[in-house]
Amino acid sequence: MASAVAVELPAPRDAVAARIVRAIARGPLNIVLAVLGVLWLVPTIGLFITSILPASADASKGWWQIFTKPSLATWGNYHALFHQSGLVQALKTTVYIAVGNTFLVVILGALAGYAFAWLDFPGRDWLFIGVIGLLVVPLQMALIPMFKLYDTFGLFDTWEGIALFHVAFGLPFAIFLLRNFFAGLPKDIMESARIDGANEIVIFLRLILPLGLPAIASLAIFQFLWTWNDLLVALTFGQNTTPITVWIAGQLREFGTSIDIIAPASFISLIVPLCVFLAFQRYFVQGLLAGSVK
């Protein structure tokens, strides 16, 4: 995390007494924050424990019973889930949508971002203002017309249709983020490359993409998480081809009795973004800080 990795200088060796006094003074603060930290983790932990308890145990007592009866834990729910073809198919669809649209957003966003940052053509700033205007347009504005258009062009109920919708609505942020980052790259590198006879495509591939990698990584992680977690778009444009969120939503009607399906499936759906987030936390936070206008 950009801010979390605050440089901790080794504390000067001050008097032991002073250190003890300070530790005691901070004791309550440490305790309060520890309680808050645990409180923040409890729901996710509760979901995980619920997912490894048999349905009968879930229905009779809360998930914390595992602390007195650890023997209840079982992978049975997960085992059963993966043998239901529905979930595996939904998971595959989620991966196609999330990976496919992220790939496209990065490419199209980088091309446009470069154009807005370094190419000089008439009307450039006006076009960019248009892109900024699109940043906050709610996707509800496009659901009805695209529903009709998809129907006409056979994109309804396909993962490609859902992915393309995400590409379009991811692009304003992508262009905004990358344009700002590219614009901050040193100008003389670009100019010396031009003098050396490199054309714009070579500059883009050989200079901009490698130098812009931190911003591209931020964007890719953002877009991946955002689309992996989407519900509304998939709910609207999918019917049989649905990602995991919609698949779980279909089970919600019988929340009480299907908890042994809903809990593990939800946990599967959140473990992937969680790992991505933990692995690339730094890029995620950078993206957040660069673009918290969306």
Binding site: M1, A4, R26, L29, L111
Partner: protein
């Protein structure tokens, strides 16, 4: 084509072409998926449910939007979201950001708080639905509530019992008073039924009708029931005494004179009672109901429940963005304020917060936009039966257009309304950019 274009012209054309090459794919996507649909939706909102031709309805869809109760509920709820969430998220984030600067394990704390940001709002809804279950035996929130309320108002020994004979009467306070008066030397019988075998207090033994003692009021409180029924009002073999019950001796005026607890066989003894007439009674606390849990997902609490879960998600976002602002703050200003004798609170109020104002406003505005568009968490967390109560604009738009009636006219009007709400932010973003250029 005839003559080659002059140098300047070819440069201009070339720049157009290169720009077009880089921009065309993105502009195509934005044009087809965002600009065209936006125009379509605005136009569509002035037509009826079935189509364009001959179905012009003017502003009728907008009128419906503000007069149909499910839709006005959605607008009202969204107003509550806007009023509560951005302020709460910003405040919580600010407090967390400031406090984490003083602990050594800030990275671990920040990761814990930030974690929900990676999880989908949908999965969060499912997660909190497990937390919010009403039965305190199942839902963690109510289990916590039960533990806390158990400390302040413990459940009674016999929460479901009722009298076995009509001589024992319920008072408005919930206590049971024996109508038959008693004088010193008397014996009272307080029979109760409706107690399940596993609800009988631990250690109960065969009930005994005590012998009268001069100067004392004695009696028995017992489970006036045995397999097969038994005779009401008579202490029989096989009927258990009820230990630990609070028994009161009340004066004729109803004042509690003495109070004691029954023994294992149900007997109790008020000693040295001065002469007069009294009533024996069972204290109300005996029948206090255990904490049954709040209906977090019921019609009255569903909106606050949603707000709590949503704040849980976004607090981490605010904390990280504000934390970055804090890290970038000039340290010497804070130090100067401290050396000048400012208390921590004064420094926070007068220096930190004003310096952070731009960052705080970014968080606040971002949250307003997020909250206006909120959908997934309501869809997942609110039970379908409570959608009407929990409704928000985005949810109403989805259900109006794509479920049930499938009314594209009103659906479009709702979408346009949502768009109009974010237009001020849109203008703000553009103004900020123009100032930068």
């Amino acid at each position: 084509m005839a003559a080659p274009p002059s140098g300047a012209e070819s440069g201009r054309l070339g720049r157009y072409l290169v720009g077009a090459f880089f921009l065309a794919p993105a502009l195509f996507m934005l044009g087809v998926w965002m600009v065209y649909p936006a125009v379509y939706t605005i136009v569509r909102s002035f037509f009826g449910p079935t189509g364009f031709f001959g179905h012009w309805v003017g502003f009728h869809n907008y009128k419906t939007l503000f007069t149909t109760s499910t839709l006005t509920t959605a607008i009202k709820n969204n107003a509550i979201w806007v009023a509560v969430v951005p302020a709460m998220v910003t405040a919580v984030g600010l407090v967390f950001a400031v406090l984490t600067e003083r602990i050594r394990w800030a990275v671990a704390f920040k990761t814990a708080i930030f974690l929900p940001m990676a999880i989908s709002a949908f999965a969060t809804g499912v997660t909190w639905r497990i937390m919010y279950q009403q039965d305190p035996g199942l839902g963690a929130v109510n289990a916590l509530g039960k533990t806390i309320s158990g400390v302040f108002s413990p459940a009674g020994v016999l929460s479901s019992a009722f009298p076995s004979t009509p001589t024992l009467q319920t008072t408005s306070s919930g206590a049971l008073v024996l109508k038959t008066p008693v004088m010193p030397g008397g014996v009272t019988k307080l029979g109760l039924t409706g107690i399940a075998p596993d609800a009988v207090p631990k250690g109960a033994v065969q009930a005994v009708l005590p012998a009268s003692k001069p100067g004392d009021v004695v009696g028995v409180v017992w489970r006036d029931f045995k397999p097969g029924g038994g005779k009401a009002g008579v202490v029989e073999k096989g009927e258990l005494g009820l230990p630990g019950v609070t028994v009161e001796l009340r004066s004729a005026a109803g004042k509690v004179v003495q109070s004691t607890k029954s023994a294992a066989n149900g007997t109790f003894d008020f000693t040295k009672v001065s002469s007069g007439t009294y009533h024996a009674a069972i204290g109300a606390q005996t029948f206090a109901k255990p904490f049954g849990g709040f209906a977090w997902l019921g019609p009255n609490l569903i909106v606050p429940s949603l707000l709590i879960a949503y704040i849980w998600i976004w607090a981490g976002f605010a904390m990280v963005v504000i934390g970055a602002g804090l890290a970038a703050m000039p340290r010497d200003v804070l130090e100067a304020a401290r050396t000048d004798g400012g208390t921590e609170w004064q420094v926070f109020r007068r220096v930190t917060v004003p310096l952070l104002a731009p960052v705080l406003s970014v968080v606040f505005v971002t949250m307003i936009i997020n909250v206006l568009k909120v959908f997934d968490i309501v869809y997942a967390l609110a039970p379908e039966s409570e959608y009407a109560k929990a409704n928000v604009i985005a949810l109403a738009m989805y259900f109006t257009a794509f479920q049930g009636a499938g009314n594209f006219g009103i659906g479009s009007a709702i979408a346009v309304f949502l768009f109009l709400l974010v237009v001020p932010v849109l203008a703000l973003n553009i103004r900020r950019f123009k100032r930068e250029v």
